[in-house]
């Protein structure tokens, strides 16, 4: 613990309508968790749809899952977990006032996000190339699809990975903003709530991928 360099100037970070730093910190944290609930419900509703249709058309979903390359999904899972680790570490480093290292950790996190997106990009373009478009645009002749409604599987695939990818991009944007502020010296052992907030968001993105990976690539 290196909380010894506290000075009272830090309380200048407390907004006017809060009494003290504790109240502000607790409020901020609660707000973030509330927002995460909306994320869970949003993704969860698609998962509910996925679950229902998977149950109705197991063979079709199995055919769809076989078209995906689990190795890419596997690599992406590892990349995201590693980025989650660096994100968590960055907060801990800021709490210990090791700002430079924290900035490094944040930069690595952004890099991991970028790697994830690049792999995703190649996955998607490959699928397009093969004719696996979503829904009714799926090229039945080119893909030799056995099930007439295979497009629905890819509908789910693109919706889920697309929405997730969008979150990765938003997360990368937010972390870039954090990185700039970290380098500028805005964060320290008495003020890190934005880092923690974005961190929780980033972990949620990771968490969702942890479920998407077996759901889309492995189960069939």
């Amino acid at each position: 613990m290196s909380t010894d360099n506290i000075t009272h100037t830090h309380s200048a970070h407390v907004s006017h309508h809060f009494k003290d730093a504790t109240q502000e910190y607790d409020s901020g944290k609660q707000g973030i968790w509330l927002f995460m609930v909306t994320e869970i419900l949003m993704f969860g509703a698609v998962l509910v749809g996925y679950g229902i249709f998977h149950h109705l058309y197991p063979a079709m979903f199995s055919e769809g899952a076989k078209q995906l390359d689990w190795k890419l999904g596997f690599i992406n899972t590892l990349v995201l977990i590693f980025s989650s680790f660096t994100m968590a570490i960055s907060i801990q480093l800021i709490q210990r006032n090791q700002i430079k290292k924290a900035a490094m950790a944040l930069a690595v996190t952004i890099l991991c996000g970028a790697i994830f997106m690049v792999i995703k990009y190649f996955e998607w373009t490959h699928k397009f190339h093969m004719g696996f478009y979503p829904g009714r645009f799926l090229d039945m002749a080119k893909t030799h699809a056995e099930h007439a409604n295979l497009g629905m599987y890819f509908g789910f695939y693109y919706c889920m990975t697309g929405l997730h990818g969008l979150h990765v991009l938003i997360g990368m944007g937010l972390i870039t903003w954090l990185l700039i502020r970290t380098i500028r010296g805005d964060f320290h052992s008495q003020y890190w709530i934005p880092v923690e907030g974005v961190g929780i968001f980033w972990h949620i993105v990771d968490l969702i991928w942890i479920f998407l990976f077996p759901l889309l690539y492995l189960v069939g």
Partner: protein, 112 residues
């Protein structure tokens, strides 16, 4: 963490700082579990119906690790835990009632 500690000035935060070793251990566990998922998948023909159960069981364990250690729910207050749990609760409600409808659609008789 940061619970109102009357001995201290509330204007000074005393975060609960987890050691780096803890993060490393959790990350290693997550990596290991991911590999385990893939290994289990190689035997999905033998596992049959259990294949998806195993895959989601492992995913659930991974998710719990992330929640407890990376997102610090382990050290957080009950309110935030309840808030987060409520999301899953209402998700289950959505699933349950939709399934009740879809699974009992019979045109001939009202079963109840």
């Amino acid at each position: 963490m940061a619970a109102n500690n009357h001995k201290h000035d509330p204007n000074v935060l005393h975060p609960h700082i987890s050691p780096t070793s803890m993060y490393l251990k959790v990350a290693a566990a997550l990596f290991g579990l991911t590999i385990l998922t893939v290994v289990a998948h190689q035997f999905h023909h033998q596992l049959g119906a259990f294949a998806s159960l195993v895959a989601f069981g492992i995913a659930a364990v991974k998710a719990t690790l992330v929640l407890l250690y990376f997102m610090h729910l382990k050290d957080d207050n009950n309110m935030n835990r309840a808030i987060f749990a409520s999301g899953f609760f209402f998700l289950i409600v959505l699933l349950l009632f939709s399934v009740v409808d879809i699974a009992t659609r019979v045109t001939e008789v009202s079963p109840l």
